[in-house]
């Protein structure tokens, strides 16, 4: 396994596409096989502190379902028709053996469905470690911070029992260093891509990021550096498209076809919340303290990105979205949320009201991860783009 330094951009995209299409997550199996201490842990969106897993010699692997790439045979027997789609393909993959190599699963506290999915896994996969990771909705260090610290310490203790390791200060600081580099590289590519959306398509950028949900952080850092360097050498002329921010797709992911459709319809996606967990923390975490767990807690409390899964408190999400639009010099927002996604869909009217006050244009539609027909969305996104180009 020595990926990740490519001679040309398309080869890197092919590699990322291969990872994306491998529903058995073969990379993780290979990674695990290299040392008997290694473990792999699947985690649901949005965010987990991956540093802790790394410090226990574990690979955290993001589980985003299987999109439109497998028929759902058994997964539908677990959920009523009015529940979102991602848990169906996740349970399908777990039942069909694709996830057999995982030693455990983490279910972050983001909604009632993911919460109850943790119970379904607890019942159906009794031999695996199952953890519903609660995040504080109180952001005072001595209240929510204390609670979150205990959650993380318990998590770390549980992980240690899986392979007999301790998370030492040095190993956790080393993991923080690696993930700081990862976040920095991602921010760099994000900035470059937002300024030059004509050079790297939204779908390509999506695949590059998606690789980071599977690869080890060491491999992903090499991959991101390589792809950023290659992207800078691409020569293409910009097209006459508007610039949009996409909001609402932080958990169940849109099919690649939908992402391509939005851009093909005349909208460069210059920012989005796809796979939001990767850019959850907006600043580096101190990596030289004698209390790295405390540093992770502080980072969550103080440097988290805005999200539908987090109580907005004194940080109104609508204003933050408006700022995001301004910072990215976007022309508008496309609200693109999965059907039956309570957090995203209940945020939408609130966010719309907020950005209306800033005279920011918006359009919106719903999808599910295995959507196969995009012509209606293409027409809607195309009309939105035309409206802005012709009348603004």
């Amino acid at each position: 396994m020595n990926p990740l330094l490519f001679n040309n951009f398309n080869a890197g995209i092919d590699f990322a596409t291969g990872l994306f299409n491998d529903l058995t997550l073969g990379y993780a199996t290979q990674w695990k096989s290299h040392h008997p201490e290694r473990r792999t842990i699947g985690y649901m969106p949005i965010y987990i502190p991956r540093e802790i897993f790394h410090s226990h010699h574990m690979l955290p692997v993001g589980l985003f379902g299987a999109g439109d790439r497998i028929p759902v045979v058994r997964g539908d027997a677990f959920f009523q028709s009015y529940i979102c789609h991602i848990p169906r393909t996740v349970i399908e993959c777990a039942l069909n053996g694709s996830y057999n190599h995982f030693d455990g699963y983490i279910f972050p506290a983001i909604c009632d469905v993911i919460r109850n999915l943790s119970g379904i896994f607890r019942i159906n996969f009794k031999d695996k470690y199952i953890k519903y990771l609660d995040f504080p909705q109180n952001f005072s260090p001595d209240i929510g911070g204390n609670f979150y610290r205990t959650e993380l310490e318990n998590l770390s203790g549980d992980l240690g029992k899986l392979n007999g390791t301790d998370s030492k200060v040095e190993s956790l600081n080393a993991a923080i260093t690696l993930y700081n580099i990862n976040r920095r590289l991602l921010r760099e590519l994000d900035g470059f891509r937002s300024e030059n959306p004509h050079l790297v398509s939204a779908a390509e950028y999506y695949l590059i990021r998606r690789a980071g949900s599977t690869l080890s952080v060491e491999d992903d850092n090499r991959f991101l550096q390589s792809m950023t360097d290659l992207a800078r050498s691409i020569k293409k002329e910009p097209e006459d498209k508007i610039r949009v921010v996409v909001s609402g797709a932080f958990c169940e992911q849109p099919p690649l076809g939908l992402i391509k459709t939005i851009e093909n319809a005349g909208c460069y996606i210059v920012d989005d919340d796809f796979q939001l967990g990767q850019k959850w923390l907006t600043r580096d975490i101190p990596d030289d303290t004698d209390d790295p767990m405390g540093a992770l807690v502080d980072a969550y409390l103080n440097d988290s990105i805005h999200s539908s899964a987090v109580f907005e408190g004194t940080r109104p999400k609508g204003e933050l979205l408006a700022k995001q639009v301004k910072d990215r010099q976007a022309d508008g927002v496309i609200f693109c949320a999965p059907s039956f996604c309570d957090p995203a869909l209940l945020d939408r009217p609130l966010l719309e009201n907020a950005i209306d006050k800033h005279h920011i244009r918006h359009s919106g539609f719903q999808y599910h991860e295995n959507l196969g027909q995009f012509h209606v969305i293409k027409e809607q996104a195309g009309t939105f783009a035309d409206m802005i180009k012709l009348w603004e």
């Binding site: 027997a77 677990f78 959920f79 009523q80 009015y82 529940i83 848990p87 506290a109 983001i110 909604c111 009632d112 469905v113 919460r115 109850n116 999915l117 943790s118 119970g119 379904i120 607890r122 019942i123 159906n124 953890k131 519903y132 609660d134 504080p136 909705q137 109180n138 005072s140 001595d142 209240i143 929510g144 204390n146 609670f147 205990t150 539908s308 109580f311 907005e312 408190g313 059907s339 039956f340 996604c341 309570d342 957090p343 869909l345 209940l346 945020d347 939408r348 009217p349 609130l350 719309e352 009201n353 719903q366």
Partner: protein
């Protein structure tokens, strides 16, 4: 025909009328108004500061029963709320847009405080984030209740809730009400809560008798009214449950079945336990399907959504804030799926049920996600017939009488066929009272 009124029902109606009158005149009387939720509600604490609670879920369900929810929901959807999301939220927002007229025809006061007791339902958080924009002058206090992910109440979770109460929620209440927190007053209220909780459990446990003197679902939603909403911690609440218990004891002594809208159920043909909230828009019609068939619900999980008292928990003056924290953590939808299965199993065995029915609510992922697994687990473990229907809380578009009836007909056929293989006695508890 209206529901036959018993003394307890009349008392509850009077209590509600007085409460809504107090709310209607809150601005004149200077009483502060707290909007909050039923699961994890802190009514004792709210009343300690002489403030008045309003429960948006209750407003929504009452709008559903009064056939107003359809219009309210459409108004909210016109504002951009998706068809896919919780109909309670949309109904509440629609009601607010149309003047926030409560069930007694009086306008409900705007909130002074949105007490976001985030217990067992993620949507609560989104609900009040949305309400906050409609009531920009109200304070908002978040009380985050961690989920019982491991199936136990962790001491650090209790401490987290106590910390939030002590350092954030109570100071906000003090500031708003202009009153200092009076712990002795809270303790007295908690003593009264415990008394009411004892009586409520006596009422629920009367379903061990055959015939059951209560319907623990359709009747149960009336029985939980005072304790789940505005009255827990009051003498009125204790008085209500004493009266209710008297009525239930009378029915036990005379081997009477539960009171239905069409009179006392005279022949108990099937005893059921139900998982999930009822439909409110066609409540009578829904209930009638069951009592026409002689089916009575002897246990229900919905009546534990505002607190589970079956396993011995009682509010306690010994550690007031710890007691409130433990109460919040124990509410039904804050329990993990294995715990919910265990509770259902205990109802099925304790109340000698013939079958389990799941009413899967389109609007409520907190209840609904995982129900199919719960059904299968209980079916396999207990070998009982399991029925499954789908309705919604207050969106009338999702109540299809014919679909429900068809499914229930099949379920009842299955129950009849399985009468000879009812749960074997050895796995039933000993205290079933014939």
């Amino acid at each position: 025909m209206g529901v036959q009124k018993e003394t307890s029902m009349i008392k509850q109606k009077q209590m509600l009328a007085e409460h809504f009158m107090e709310l209607a005149t809150a601005k004149e009387s200077g009483k502060k108004v707290v909007y909050t939720f039923v699961p994890g509600n802190l009514s004792e604490l709210i009343y300690t500061f002489d403030m008045l609670p309003v429960y948006p879920e209750i407003n929504s369900l009452q709008s559903g029963m009064r056939k107003k929810s359809g219009d309210y929901i459409r108004d909210a959807e016109d504002m951009g709320y998706s068809e896919d999301v919780c109909s309670y939220v949309k109904c509440d927002i629609g009601m607010m847009l149309q003047g926030n007229i409560g069930p007694t025809g009086q306008k409900l006061p705007d909130p002074d405080l949105l007490l976001l007791s985030y217990t067992g339902c993620f949507v609560f958080m989104k609900w009040f984030e949305n309400l906050k924009q409609f009531y920009p002058n109200s304070e908002i206090a978040m009380l985050h209740i961690p989920y019982q992910e491991a199936g136990i109440i962790e001491p650090y979770a209790v401490q987290y809730i106590k910390d939030q109460l002590e350092r954030e929620v109570i100071p906000k209440m003090e500031k708003l009400s202009g009153k200092t927190f009076n712990e002795a007053k809270l303790k007295r209220k908690l003593e009264l809560s415990a008394q009411a909780e004892d009586l409520l459990i006596d009422v629920f446990d009367s379903a061990r008798h055959r015939p059951s003197p209560i319907d623990a679902y359709f009747g149960g939603v009336y029985y939980i009214g005072p304790i789940f909403t505005a009255f827990r911690g009051s003498q009125d609440c204790v008085d209500y449950y004493q009266e209710l218990k008297k009525e239930v004891d009378y029915r036990v002594r005379h081997k009477l079945g539960p009171v239905t809208p069409d009179g006392v159920l005279t022949q108990e043909k099937a005893r059921l336990v139900v998982e999930g909230p009822p439909n409110w828009t066609h409540f009578r019609n829904f209930w009638k399907i069951f009592y026409d068939l002689g089916a009575v619900f002897v246990g229900s999980t919905y009546t534990r959504v505002g607190g589970v008292y079956d396993e011995g928990f009682r509010h306690s003056p010994d550690d007031p804030l710890g007691s409130l924290a433990t109460y919040c953590l124990g509410c039904y939808t804050n329990r993990n799926l294995p715990q919910r299965i265990d509770l259902l199993e205990s109802f099925i065995t304790k109340y000698h049920a013939d079958g389990l029915l799941v009413n899967s609510i389109k609007s409520c992922n907190s209840f609904s996600a995982g129900q199919l697994v719960m059904m299968r687990e209980l079916e396999q473990k207990l070998g009982i017939p399991v029925g499954f229907i789908e309705t919604d809380l207050v969106d009338p578009r999702y109540y299809s009488y014919s679909n429900i009836k068809n499914r229930l007909d099949s379920f009842f056929q299955m129950l009849e066929q399985r009468q000879s293989v009812r749960i074997s006695d050895e796995i039933l508890s000993d205290d079933v009272l014939a």
